[in-house]
Symmetry: C2
Subunit: 316 residues, 2 copies
C-alpha cells in the first residue's frame, strides 16, 4: 500500500462536494435527515436515517419524513435544550441502541447557531450521531536543525489499548474542545497531559496557524457505528521546541514519541500509519513550511483547498 497525499485527504474529507459531482452530492444529501432546533430553520448536521428513525415518537423530538428533518422541539434556552438532548441520549444509552454511546465520556461539546450563539451542549460520544460540527486543537511540535534548517517532527504513537485508532500515529498534541473551554486553554491543558510540555513554553511559543476543516464519514477504526457524519474544525498550532527538550507521554494515551525527519513522517503517511485527521494536520504543516510545494506535490492546489473545507453548517 502506498497512499498519495490526496488519498489521505480523500479518506478524511470524504463527504461529496456539490460542485465536483452535483448528482452524487444530492443523492447523498437526500438520504440524510437534517438536525434542527425549534425556531431555527437551518441544518446543524446530517443524520443517518437509521439514527433519525430512533428518535421517532420520542418526547421533545419531531421527525418530519417528508422534508427529512429531525427537530428538537422543546427548549428555548441553552440549558433547556441541552437537558432535553441529554435526557434522550441517556435513555438511548440505557436501551443500548448505539454502540458509540458505550464510550460515554461525560464531556460536553458545543453546538452553535448562525449567529455564533451557543444553542445546546451534547455529550461528546453522541455528537457523531447528530452529525454536528465538533472542534479540536492540534499542535505540531518540531525542531529545526540550527545548521541545516532541516525540520524534525515530534510524532507520537497512540496506545494500542486506545479504543479509537489504537497504535496509529498522531500529532504531538491533539484533543477535542469541551463546551465553554477556549481553544488556547484546551491546547495548554492537552500539551501538559499528552506531551509533558511546560505551560510557560506553550503559552509563549505556540503559534496559531489557522484551521483545518473537513467533513468526515466515520469508518470502522473510529469505533461504533460506521457511516456517521462528522464535520470537524481543528484549530492548528505550531510549536518550535528547543533541541534537547523531549516530549514524553504524561497519560496512558500515548505509547511513545518519535522525533522524526520529514522523510520518516512522509513514509509513515504513505503507509497509512497516521490517524486519518492527523495526516491532514501534517499536510497543512508541510504546506505552510514550504516542504510540500507545487513542484513536489502534483495535487497541491486541490489538497490546500480540501484542508480548509467550508462547512455547510454554522460554526463558531
Amino acid at each position: 500500500m502506498s497512499l498519495s497525499n490526496l488519498d489521505l485527504v480523500n479518506e478524511c474529507d470524504a463527504f461529496p462536494y456539490y460542485q465536483a459531482d452535483p448528482d452524487l452530492y444530492l443523492a447523498s444529501i437526500s438520504t440524510y435527515f437534517e438536525l434542527r432546533v425549534a425556531n431555527h430553520d437551518y441544518a446543524l448536521g446530517y443524520m443517518l436515517p437509521s439514527v433519525a428513525e430512533v428518535f421517532r415518537g420520542v418526547p421533545n423530538w419531531d421527525l418530519n419524513d417528508d422534508d427529512r428533518i429531525l427537530t428538537l422541539t422543546s427548549g428555548s434556552t441553552v440549558s433547556e435544550r441541552s437537558e432535553a438532548v441529554e435526557q434522550t441520549l441517556l435513555a438511548l444509552r440505557t436501551t443500548g441502541h448505539f454502540k458509540v454511546l458505550d464510550k460515554w465520556r461525560n464531556e460536553l461539546y458545543a453546538v452553535y447557531g448562525r449567529n455564533k450563539e451557543l444553542l445546546f451542549n451534547v455529550e461528546r460520544s453522541a455528537s457523531p450521531l447528530l452529525g454536528v460540527v465538533t472542534y479540536g486543537v492540534h499542535l505540531t511540535a518540531y525542531t529545526k536543525d540550527a545548521e541545516t534548517g532541516a525540520l524534525k517532527i515530534w510524532t507520537p504513537r497512540r496506545a494500542k489499548s486506545k479504543q479509537t485508532f489504537g497504535g496509529m500515529l498522531d500529532n504531538a498534541v491533539g484533543g477535542g474542545i469541551s463546551s465553554g473551554e477556549s481553544p488556547f486553554a484546551s491546547l495548554v491543558r492537552e500539551c501538559a497531559e499528552e506531551a509533558s510540555l511546560p505551560e510557560d513554553l506553550v503559552r509563549r511559543d505556540a503559534r496559531a496557524c489557522g484551521t483545518v476543516t473537513y467533513f468526515h464519514i466515520r469508518g470502522e477504526k473510529a469505533g461504533g457505528e460506521t457511516g456517521l457524519l462528522q464535520p470537524e474544525c481543528e484549530y492548528v498550532y505550531d510549536l518550535e521546541v528547543p533541541e534537547g527538550l523531549e516530549l514524553k507521554p504524561n497519560d496512558d494515551e500515548v505509547e511513545e514519541f518519535y522525533l522524526w525527519s520529514v522523510e520518516e513522517v512522509q513514509g509513515a503517511m504513505r503507509r497509512g500509519e497516521f490517524k486519518p485527521n492527523c495526516a491532514l494536520m501534517v499536510l497543512d504543516f508541510l504546506v505552510r513550511h514550504g516542504v510540500l510545494t507545487e513542484e513536489s506535490e502534483r495535487d497541491y492546489i486541490e489538497i490546500v483547498a480540501r484542508l480548509h473545507r467550508r462547512l455547510e453548517f454554522p460554526t463558531l
Copy 2:
C-alpha cells in the same frame, strides 16, 4: 467606511456557494454559459450571456442555448485550440466588442483540463471573458524585530497611472503566471522587476506557504466590463527580509514602498485601501503568523475556509 476582514473576503470571493444558499447559487449558475472544448464534457469557466452571445455563429465555436454551453469545436491539440481561440479574440479586439481587450498584453495564460493537461493558451486580457482559472504568485516580504519579534510588512502603493486598481495598496510582489512559466520562476522574475529583490536572496529564502483561491466577480476598478467571472489561484510565498534591506520599485508599476507595522496594514485594510485580492494574501499571512486568531477575529473559521476555496473548474 470600516471594513471587517470578512467584508474584505466577501468582496473578493464573491461568487455564491451552493451550500450557503442553493437557490442563489443555482440562480446564478443558470444565467451563465459554460465554456468547454470539444470532447471534454465539463466546464472550464463560466461566461456572461452577453459575452457568450458574441460567439454565436463565429467559426470554430458552437453556442448551445438549451444547455447554455459554449464549445470550442475545432482543434485537438494545444496549438490548434490556442490558434483558434486567438483568431477569434483578435477579431473581437478589432471589432471593439469588449473593453477588456483594449488592454491586450501579448501574454498567454494556460487553461488546464481534468488530468492537469494543458488544453489551450489564451491572451491574458481575454481570460475573464472566458471565465477560466488564472494563476498568479504573491509574496509577502516582512521583517521581524530582533528583540520584540514584532512583524513589519513591506507594502507597496500601485502607481496611480496603472489601469487597474491605480493608487491602491498591494503585496510586496505579485503577478500573473504566463503559460509555460513555473510559479517559482515567475516569482523570481517579479521580485526583481517589482521590488529590486536580489535573486539569490529570493531563491534561498522565499518560502512556499500554500495557495489562496477565490472566485471573483469583476467590478469597476478592474477596468473593462463588470460582472466577468474570475476564478483565481494564487501561489503564496513568504520572504523574511533582513532589517536594513530596502524594497524599491524597479519599474513604473509601483509608486512607493512602505514598511508598515501590522496595525498600520490592518488600518489600511479597514479603510479599503488594498487591491481586493491582495487583502486576502495579507489575511492569509496574518493567519499563518498567529496575528489573526480565533481570539482576535470573530469570523476566523469562515475566513480561513474562504481563503482556500475549492474551485469548481479543473486546476493545474
